[in-house]
């Protein structure tokens, strides 16, 4: 043997030639602990994780921690600024809107639906887009690829928001409809990016090797292609998540999104647009909430991409 590979990772020591079940039930707790440690090593990922944890807790505990019900109006306290400004009141920490509703309460109540709709839509888009993208790229130039790519082109020709508007307009708005429509129309960017990856992957020698072994195409796609498009998928997913929040906001503004009295961040944000000059806080705080959450997801996505790459596992 020419040289020993350098390995400071403790996994190697327990990788004895013994049984195939190296990471059994006992090992999974250790794996979780090790993953957590790598998470804490990355400040950005730690912040991202904390923010998301806060979001989830808020979503679950909204009725208990929110100062007021989201729709409760206080006609005497309309358009109050946040508490630290002149005229603000500690009763309404982030101020009130034109109907005297507490902004903080509305943000707290908006977390749940906002995250669920965007999150589930991203999952639908990713499953659709990655599946189609992998098959399309694997048979690049074939009839399936041609059909998919024409669909992608067609989709790019129409603004997504317009397409969603038409579908929702004809089906009637509801939370479920919105989620599904967002998900189904969002596959294009996944398919595009993944296909580009696959076209280069399928020329790599390890795919040729699998072919020369006689591996069947579906197995090849699952075993050799899919794991190698995960980095791209994660990056696209984090971007797509942010886009979904914004689209949902626009639709709510047009009255075709989530229907009141359900509150979402996008809805609150758009309500505040008319008051940007006079009562900036109505739009600013939900906007901040969206920004921070999307950033948190991106941080976490970056970390997840690195952790899923075996080459990065050396550190720890």
């Amino acid at each position: 043997m020419t040289q020993q590979p350098l390995m400071e990772n403790e996994t190697s020591t327990k990788a004895a030639p013994g049984g195939p079940a190296v990471s059994g039930s006992g090992g999974s707790a250790a794996v979780v602990r090790r993953r957590l440690r790598t998470l804490l090593q990355s400040p950005a990922a730690t912040i991202g994780a904390l923010v998301l944890l806060l979001c989830v807790l808020t979503a679950l505990l909204a009725p208990f921690i929110s100062p007021y019900p989201p729709g409760q109006q206080h006609p005497q306290d309309r358009l109050l600024p946040p508490f630290w400004l002149e005229g603000g009141s500690t009763e309404f920490l982030l101020g009130t809107d034109n109907l005297g509703r507490d902004i903080l309460s509305r943000i707290v109540h908006g977390v749940q639906v906002t995250l669920l709709v965007s999150g589930i839509a991203v999952i639908i888009s990713a499953v659709l887009g990655v599946t189609l993208g992998v098959i399309s790229g694997f048979y690049a130039g074939g009839w399936f690829d041609t059909i998919i790519q024409r669909l992608v082109d067609a989709n790019m020709a129409i603004p997504n928001i317009l397409l969603i508007l038409v579908i929702i307009g004809s089906m009637g708005p509801s939370t479920v409809t919105l989620t599904v429509v967002l998900g189904v129309t969002g596959w294009v960017i996944f398919a595009r990016m993944v296909r580009a990856d696959v076209v280069s992957l399928r020329e790599r020698d390890f795919v040729r090797a699998a072919r020369s072994i006689g591996t069947r195409d579906p197995v090849m796609m699952m075993r050799h292609i899919l794991p190698n498009v995960m980095p791209t998928t994660i990056v696209v997913a984090t971007l797509s998540f942010g886009t979904n929040i914004v689209i949902e906001a626009s639709l709510s503004f047009l009255g075709l999104g989530i229907q009141p009295p359900t509150v979402t961040w996008g809805y609150v944000l758009n309500e505040g647009r008319d008051y940007l000059a006079t009562a900036w806080w109505i739009a600013t705080f939900p906007g901040l909430a969206i920004t921070i959450t999307v950033l948190a997801i991106m941080f976490l996505g970056d970390w997840l991409r690195d952790v899923l790459d075996p080459r990065e596992k050396k550190r720890s």
């Binding site: 043997m1 020419t2 040289q3 590979p5 350098l6 390995m7 996994t11 190697s12 990788a15 004895a16 030639p17 049984g19 195939p20 190296v22 790599r204 020698d205 390890f206 040729r208 090797a209 699998a210 072919r211 020369s212 072994i213 006689g214 591996t215 069947r216 197995v219 075993r223 050799h224 794991p227 190698n228 790459d309 075996p310 080459r311 596992k313």
Partner: protein, 360 residues
């Protein structure tokens, strides 16, 4: 061309046994997209290049492998050498049907592989495996070494149990000189030589009859090259393997091959035993190839080195007549008009040249 094939059949060592692989008139054409680039008139002699470079192939077509025929006998190593773009790797891919040939036949134990239906071909693949050039891209970075070596076993369901496959994998790792402790590591943790050993273990897993080594050592350090070549030789003796060894490094090819075929512009210009090729090259191109290879000792170096000038012509404007006539030091008029067939010059040597060196 037909006489040439008869000659191939009558090669001395051939008479003893049936060839494992018989390649006949194998041709691969690629269709080019877009307009064909104009033939540049940078002929160094200043001759009108139009006539010499007049294309034989129709527009927008590139003939990567041009009507080649050869045999490989069980247990031997056939070296395949030539410059970049001479069609070596394409030939390998055609034999294993990683690319579909345009025309020709490839017989494996008498069965024409190119006519096999996909299912049959899949089953046949267990007898023929490949070792790739780049040990960094030939292993899936997201699979553990054990999984990589196990893949052929899973694909062909040769061993039903997980346990059985695991034992076989550990066995194979031992055979190629890898510590079984490394079974759960990822490829990136290994050096180039070790990765190549993983690739070899994967190729061995199904007990193949033929292994095609496509530039298998070209990417490695010279010291590691020797180790891997010796390993390949050891395995060949142990498992009675047949190799098609593709390379551009002459020392490596010399070290491992029994017979060597020299390719130029998609054609075999000379095929002969190793010693005859190195001691007594018949084709001017072979001689030029040997002369261009650096030799460590002045005693070993040929008396007068004749180095080639100019570049390999582009494949889509192959010259009329002998493909080598644009660069040949001994070129004559006949070479520019008539293409020399591959013909027997001795018991072992065939060359495609009108005026072979040291002949009569």
């Amino acid at each position: 061309m037909t006489e040439a094939i008869e000659h191939l059949h009558s090669t001395t060592e051939a008479s003893a046994q049936e060839p494992l692989i018989t390649v006949r008139h194998l041709t691969k054409k690629f269709t080019l997209r877009g307009p064909r680039p104009k033939a540049s008139a940078k002929d160094e002699q200043g001759k009108a290049s139009d006539q010499a470079q007049e294309r034989q192939s129709p527009r927008n077509e590139l003939v990567a492998v041009n009507n080649i025929s050869f045999d490989v006998y069980p247990g031997e190593t056939l070296g395949l050498v030539g410059e970049s773009g001479s069609g070596k790797s394409t030939t390998a891919a055609l034999i294993l049907r990683l690319l579909e040939a345009t025309s020709g036949e490839v017989y494996f134990e008498g069965q024409n592989l190119l006519e096999l239906p996909p299912q049959e071909m899949r089953r046949r693949r267990r007898d023929m495996q490949m070792v790739f050039q780049d040990p960094f891209s030939s292993l899936n970075p997201r699979m553990r070494v054990g999984e990589i070596i196990e893949e052929p076993l899973r694909t062909h369901r040769t061993l039903p149990t997980r346990r059985g496959r695991r034992d076989r994998v550990l066995d194979l790792m031992d055979t190629v000189g890898l510590s079984p402790d490394f079974v759960d590591r990822f490829p990136h943790e290994f050096s180039g030589g070790q990765r190549q050993r993983i690739g070899i273990a994967r190729a061995l897993a199904l007990n193949p009859k033929l292994i095609v080594c496509d530039e298998a050592v070209s990417a490695l350090d010279v010291s590691i090259q020797a180790q891997v070549l010796n390993l390949l030789k050891k395995l060949q003796a142990e498992f009675n393997l047949t190799y098609i060894f593709i390379g551009h490094g002459l020392p490596a090819v010399h070290h491992i091959s029994d017979r060597i075929a020299v390719m130029y512009l998609g054609k075999i210009v000379e095929i002969t035993t190793r010693d005859s090729l190195f001691d007594d090259p018949k084709h001017p191109y072979t001689k030029a190839l040997l002369d261009s290879s650096p030799v460590s000792s002045p005693e070993l170096r040929g008396s007068q080195d004749e180095l080639l000038e100019g570049e390999v012509p582009s494949l889509d404007i192959t010259p009329r007549g002998c493909p080598f006539n644009t660069r040949c030091l001994y070129v004559q008029d006949r070479c520019r008009s008539e293409e020399p067939p591959l013909r027997s010059l001795s018991d072992t040597a065939q060359a495609a040249c009108h005026f072979p060196l040291n002949h009569n």
